[in-house]
Amino acid sequence: MDHAFSSANHAVVKHTQLQQKLKTHLAAMGFIAPSAIFLGVFVFYPLVKTVYYSMFLTNALGQPVKFIGLSNYGTLLQDKFFMKSLLTTFIFVFMVTLLTTVSALALAMVTSKHLKGTTLFRTFFASTMGVSVSVASVLWLFIFQPTTGVSDMVLNLLHLPPIHWLTDNTWSLFAVILTVVWMNLGFSFLALTGALENVATPLYEVADIEGVTTWHKFYHITLPQISPTLFFVGTVTMINAFQTFGQVDLLTKGGPNNSTNLIVYQIYKDAFVNLNVGKASTESIVLALLIALVTIAQFKLTEKRVMYQ
């Protein structure tokens, strides 16, 4: 009898335990729900849908008509037009990442000297963070404007021939790179300024006393100390550069002669101008994979040189 009682008691305990577990789970779900729904609707559902579309022939209304498996991908890889866009994108991303990181670091180093007016310049350099892509593009449009633009005025003053920034094949990509670097500079500058401020002063003082050269101080003290931030800035800039759209759309529309036809712009044209959603979806997936690949490669290649404390 005693035994029976204890076993019944045991069952009750087990039951309440189960209830308890369910309660915790429900609570956990409740907490996750907002972001899960948000991500589901705006990220995962479109992603799945894109993969789905990329395996179909679509009609002009963007509806899937015929399942064709992976042949969209096969066609794309043989598409010279797409391949050129890919190459342009790679050059663009490489240049933007390099120039942004290097110039942001240079500006951050200059303003880390605590001279008079440092704060003012810091505000200037960081201010591009508050400018939207459209405003920035219009601003640069004015600068690049033939004959009346600031650029030509300056060149004229220096007795140099004018440059057709946006209409000359050789300059157009560089012009877009310039505007994107300018846009990205604010954030990178701010992040690197913070990193430089965090390097302990005594490290430089010891170096000063020991007669360490300026270059050695930069290469052996500063760089390793800020390497995590540098790596972060590089990665973020690179991913952003891959997704550049606004500047191209407003400045060059991919031209002249497709010299600034970046992949995202190509996707946009395929989807909304050529009304070929299937192809655009395929291109999107390829772009996503490329970004992932390059990011992984960057991690693998540079992480060893990054020093986390």
């Binding site: 010891v206 000063d208 006393i209 020991e210 007669g211 360490v212 052996h220 404390q309």
Partner: protein, 351 residues
Amino acid sequence: MIELQHIKKRYTEQDEAVIKDVTVSITPGEFFVMVGPSGSGKSTILRMIAGLESITGGELLIDGERMNDLPPKSRHLSMVFQNYALYPNMTVSENIVFGLKSRKVDRATQFQRLSDALTMVDLTDFSSRYPRELSGGQRQRVALARSIVSGADIILMDEPLSNLDAQLRESMRYEIKALQRKLGITVIYVTHDQTEAMTMGDRVMILNDGIVQQIGTPIQLYQVPENTFVAKFFGTPKMNVIPGVTDWQNHGVAINTPFDPDALVGIRPQAAHVNQENKDDLAISLWLASMTYIGSDTLLFGTINNRDETVQFKIKGMANLSPQQYVTIYVSREDLYYFDLAGQALATVGV
């Protein structure tokens, strides 16, 4: 020879000087300690010698050569910082030879000096570790080795032991001192710890508010303090400084000072005893507020003459007294110090 002649420091024109006229000569091979409470300017002086801080006034000479405007690297000295300042991305060895490498000292010399230094600070087995893998004491030894390796015959140390725990600090004191003796180098050592100053220094300069209070051997500072600040700074528990004779007479305690009757009288806590030893011993009537037995001694806390400030005495062994009543303690007359009301020593009795 390092000579400071009327060295001054002010940060802006309007500000009051933080270092007011410091003059001292430090001889080669000397272990010179600068001690004082925080904000007294001792680190600032050290940094001015190093060249990390500009000199506002006066002359700094090293071996007769004016150093005021030379960059740190041209002063041929090295420095050890409180937080070690090791390069976190370099191993112990790399940290130690980094300066030599940058100055393009040849590899054979680098290697020789590195292994010598590692042996000296007993870190040979740790040469390929990173600073984060070392204990605080080991890190400070790496910093020492880095200083030694530079070949400078002057090493500046800015509170090098204050980040270490008490036990380690004590053993490191002897290590640093032994190292300095062995290498015959000049060390200028900044600390706020009076025990460090007393045990390590050949000579000690004590500072307060940017003003030199006294320069001398530890024994001189302890036995012949030039003012009440110095007298109170050295020795634990610190010296009791009490207004002199006129104030005391009510309670039957009178000190016949050979000076102004308003003089201040200084009594070191351990000078007190419970039994009269000499006929002319000073008898003090102490209101014993509380007492603490600490094994070798007994600490007495109380007041004299209903004055506000607490005085403290230290009696050998276990004192047979009870608190919350008047007790009489004795101090022999040669153990008394006398100061004028401005705190300057009047004469040196008892040396």
